[in-house]
């Protein structure tokens, strides 16, 4: 039945995606919850929590706070924390509780900004969407709020949008991507939210080109293109060697890649190049997450339910599935090869 998941546990939710984008930027992040959502973020979805401290806090809402809509109490708590912490901005990130009581985030932001001397952003996540939606909202809010209209000149700079541990399943993706892009000729690389700070967000308009490494970065890249004329390219430049080494063996095979779409599509393009001159593989990209129109090919699948995936595998007669091994449980009858490509937002594995 629709909505019933019998084998696969839920994926990282939108508030985790928003938090992942903002995590390294030096702000106070308030998860507008009773505690459980923050626990999920810090205890599970944010692998940087135990190695790199960040001011991620729970609003500590209680039933009467929610029933009476005590926004002013939340603002008081935020002000008290801001008075004792060194923070460059504050962000309020939504969860199911404010979604139920229809919290007015704009009003909340105005109330908080009146009492604080730092900028405040709000992200209206609700815990029912997936991480990429929250990340996308956070990127947009960041660039809309902080990107200078008239940035200083930074020659030959590249921006990277869409790199979070949830998307890259790596703690070193920021530096890895920067290194590759520098090898490709860029002098400066801003990997927003993973290695680059708020000052770099301010200079976003100075980038000569933006790279979108996950669908969550696309809306922000389009916004920056419209605002500053910055072109963008959708590509994931640091695929693991274990996958790349397998490309020649993909020739003539029917392959399903289940991951975030940019990774899936980059594998497809690279594998096709590697097999040029031989029988090309037939590769289908599928994802429960956002799918950019630019990358969709005929046969690609946007999944909504657990059953969609099971049906796709059952009917697809694939030789190979590339995806997080957690998904194997859902298709025990699959007899082909399953190549593990961890997706942190799916399994919490790097």
């Amino acid at each position: 039945m629709k909505g019933l998941w019998k084998v696969i546990a839920p994926f990282a939710p939108d508030q985790s995606g928003a938090s992942a984008v903002l995590y390294e930027l030096g702000g106070i992040l308030v998860i507008c919850d009773a505690g459980g959502c923050t626990g999920n973020i810090c205890g599970f979805d944010e692998p940087r929590w135990f190695t790199r401290k960040s001011a991620v806090f729970s609003a500590g809402l209680r039933d009467m706070d929610a029933i009476l809509g005590r926004d002013e109490k939340l603002v008081e708590k935020l002000c008290a924390a801001a008075s004792r912490l060194d923070a460059s901005f504050a962000a309020v990130i939504g969860t199911p509780v404010p979604a139920v009581i229809a919290t007015d985030y704009k009003a909340l932001r105005r109330m908080a900004e009146k009492k604080l001397d730092i900028p405040v952003i709000t992200i209206d996540t609700d815990g029912m969407e997936l991480y990429d939606r929250g990340a996308s909202k956070a990127y947009l809010a960041l660039f809309e709020t902080f990107a200078d209209d008239d940035p200083r000149t930074i020659p030959n700079a590249a921006g990277v949008i869409g790199a979070t541990p949830l998307d890259t399943s790596s703690l070193t993706a920021g530096s890895d991507i920067s290194e590759v892009l520098k090898q490709e000729g860029f002098d400066t690389v801003f990997c927003y939210g993973m290695g680059s700070g708020l000052d770099d967000i301010r200079q976003a308009g100075a980038a000569a080109k933006n790279f979108v490494t996950a669908p969550s970065g696309l809306a922000a890249a389009q916004m920056l293109q419209s605002r500053f004329g910055t072109p963008y390219e959708i590509r994931y430049p640091v695929l693991p060697a274990e996958i790349r080494n397998r490309y020649p063996s993909f020739s003539g095979k029917k392959i399903l890649i289940v991951h975030q779409q940019v990774i899936a599509h980059t594998i497809r393009e690279e594998a096709e190049k590697a097999c040029a001159g031989r029988t090309l593989p037939q590769i289908t990209a599928a994802s429960w997450f956002m799918m950019a129109d630019e990358l969709i090919r005929d046969g690609d699948a946007s999944l909504a339910e657990e059953d969609d995936f099971i049906r796709l595998v059952r009917n697809g007669q694939y030789d190979i599935i590339i995806g997080d091994s957690l998904l194997k449980r859902a298709v025990p009858e699959f007899t082909g090869e399953f190549i593990d490509l961890p997706h942190f937002a799916v399994s919490g594995r790097m």
Binding site: K6, A9, A12, A34, D126
Partner: protein
Amino acid sequence: MTKEPYSITAESLNAAGRGNIPAELMTSTHLIYSSPATLAFNSPGAQGFGVKRAGLSIPGSVMLLVSPGCCGRNTSLLTEMKEYRDRFFFLLMDETDLVTGRHLQKIPQAVQEIVDFLPQKPSVVMICITCVDALLGTDMERVCRKASDQAGLPVLPCYMYALTREGRKPPMVFVRQSIYSLLAPVKKEPATVNLLGHFAPLDDSCELYPLLKSLGISKINEISRCGSFEEYLAMGAANFNLVLNPESRLAAQDLETRLSMPYIELARLYQIDKIANQYKLFASALGASFDDTKYRREAEEAVRAFCETHGNAVIAVGEMANANAFELSLAFTRYGLTVAEIYGTPTDEDFVYIRRLAALCPASRIFSNLSPTMLYYDSGRVHIDLTIGKDARYYRPGCPNVSWSEERQPFGYEGVTKLFTAMKQALDTSSSEGSSR
């Protein structure tokens, strides 16, 4: 701006007094820092027994989590554990469900699908609901009855309401009541007792077992030792309940009302004289007496052995351990040790310990595990030789640590013996490593 974590000495906290705990130490007055102790509560799937694991204490049970996706997110960790594989199911809510409550209509069908999907019919289906249904005012008892009628097996509610954490029935209290709610009146067995409170058994070597047997109690039930649903149901025959964790009090009261099963509470303590006194009172309540000399001597010997070699050790005590951080700190100071730091969340009930702690070790500093200022905790400010608890280890990485947070539960004299033995081992190992460098 001073980058200092909030802290208060035991002396000052005691002077402030019960009912006047500083706001920085309260959970509802400020933003909440995600310390390991907070995460242990707020991310229950991640570690320890939270509502999800606890709700599956009944043998053969499965759980349907009815919630927004975010509430089930960390459950993937549990589903990787052998004993929880194929026991969690998810009915994910969307925005329309939130507005119309239509997800409640789907529950009976979802339960039926789960029963049909599983190769073996579960004993019980637990329906776990979360904050959104708390706010929607869902009558889950009614929904469970409907699902039970349709699927032909017991369906019980289980409330993961973080919003009600400080209420009369916090989630961990409610779940304890829920898991014993299927016990029905059966013929009483006078020589049977239930131990309520934990979701894992007491250590096998705990003296409570032989002490109870010395009173003629031949059968000691713990839900975590029940191998089958039938064994679980047999807990309904117990003559009385022993409540080892106050969060089980409500469950015990419920059993007293429904099954005429009285209960006695025993606290987990680390002060040997208090343990002795508690056992004495317990035995006299049953019109008997214990000979606990042997166990008491073992505990005293373990304390003596530690103090003899490490009597000058400076200790930091966390709350993420199988102990009340304040009672344990008081026990340490009464044994002549120094407790420099405590990471905890004091309640009014803890003042019975804080008052004595203030007299014996007034300079002990209490840090709030929940305060945003703990972001600035600096382990270099005060020298500590040994930490107790997982949270203490987080704040002071590299310092010898006894995590004291195993799932098997320590209790009584045996808890003291094992703790002090582990503490001695931790410091002995640290010293020998230091001298070999």
